[in-house]
């Protein structure tokens, strides 16, 4: 998996994290770390571009959940502390986070996993990059 980071300016600055490849248990921490770096650099809005992501596991969903927590001002669990700590997270995601992280172009299989996990109802999903940036 590769993650490219680009900045866009709509009404607010938006970091676009484009994921190329499968998002699974071997690399989901890389995505969290990239989002943490963007957040530390002052980015408060993240668009996850899933156009080239054909597979997402439950670990990938944990990454999305952790980034949402991060953007609503909470510290996500330390990935180095282990899978159990991350999976034990039971904190909810607020409407505040929904305004700060959005998804672009999830592929059918990824969308199916989002729906089945219940996370699809939380994330705002876009299919057009310009509209997605303008929505923040």
């Amino acid at each position: 998996m590769n993650i490219s980071v680009n900045q866009a300016l709509g009404r607010v600055p938006v970091a676009i994290l484009a994921i190329q490849g499968d998002l699974d248990a071997s690399n989901y921490r890389d995505l969290i770390a990239t989002a943490e770096q963007a957040s530390a650099a002052g980015t408060g809005h993240i668009l996850l571009d899933l156009t080239q992501t054909s597979f997402i596991s439950s670990s990938g969903l944990v990454a999305l959940h952790s980034i949402a927590l991060l953007l609503q001002g909470e510290r996500p669990p330390d990935p180095e502390s282990g899978w159990s700590a991350i999976h034990a997270v039971g904190r909810g995601l607020s409407a505040v986070a929904r305004e700060h992280i959005k998804l672009l172009n999830p592929q059918p299989k990824v969308q199916q996993v989002l729906v089945k996990s219940g996370l699809a109802e939380f994330f705002e999903i876009h299919t057009d990059l310009t509209a997605a940036i303008a929505s923040f």
């Binding site: 499968d22 248990a25 439950s58 670990s59 999976h87 034990a88 997270v89 996993v113 219940g118």
Partner: protein, 139 residues
């Protein structure tokens, strides 16, 4: 005629992609349809990740993956020598709860259940965990 192919890899997270590719290529070659294979890959990923992370807990070990097509059913068996654990005993999440009250724990097993027609567990004669995932093809 039943066809069976096997792979044995070290139980490491970086091998999850190797396992998925093996299952995908083997199942397609055996005659499974792409939808069935895609669903199976989701379940295999979750089950294999659980073996690596919760089963072996970072200790060295192997995962054996066996792929077969048995009377229009794609079957994948995962065998390991980690601590004995029956993942089918994990209760399903309470989907009646609103999202903010749900917990993420157990999500992987939930997805594995959803994307397969059955999940069965047994301890093999030589004392290994064996999880069998089945998905009908052509449906």
């Amino acid at each position: 005629m039943d066809m069976t192919s096997r792979l044995r890899v070290p139980a490491e997270l970086q091998n999850l992609g190797v396992i998925r590719r093996f299952v995908q290529e083997t199942a397609i070659a055996q005659g499974s349809d792409r939808q069935a294979v895609a669903d199976m890959l989701q379940a295999v990923e979750e089950a294999a990740a659980n073996i690596v992370v919760h089963g072996y807990c970072g200790q060295p070990g192997d995962i054996e993956v066996e792929v077969s097509l048995e009377k229009a059913v794609l079957a994948v068996r995962l065998r390991d020598r980690a601590t004995l654990f029956d993942p089918t005993s994990v209760p399903p999440p309470d989907l009646a709860l609103p999202l903010e009250e749900r917990r993420l724990g157990g999500l992987g097993i939930h997805l594995a259940r959803h994307f397969t027609d059955s999940m069965t567990y047994r301890v093999t004669d030589d004392g290994r965990n064996e999880l069998t995932l089945r998905r009908k093809i052509g449906s």
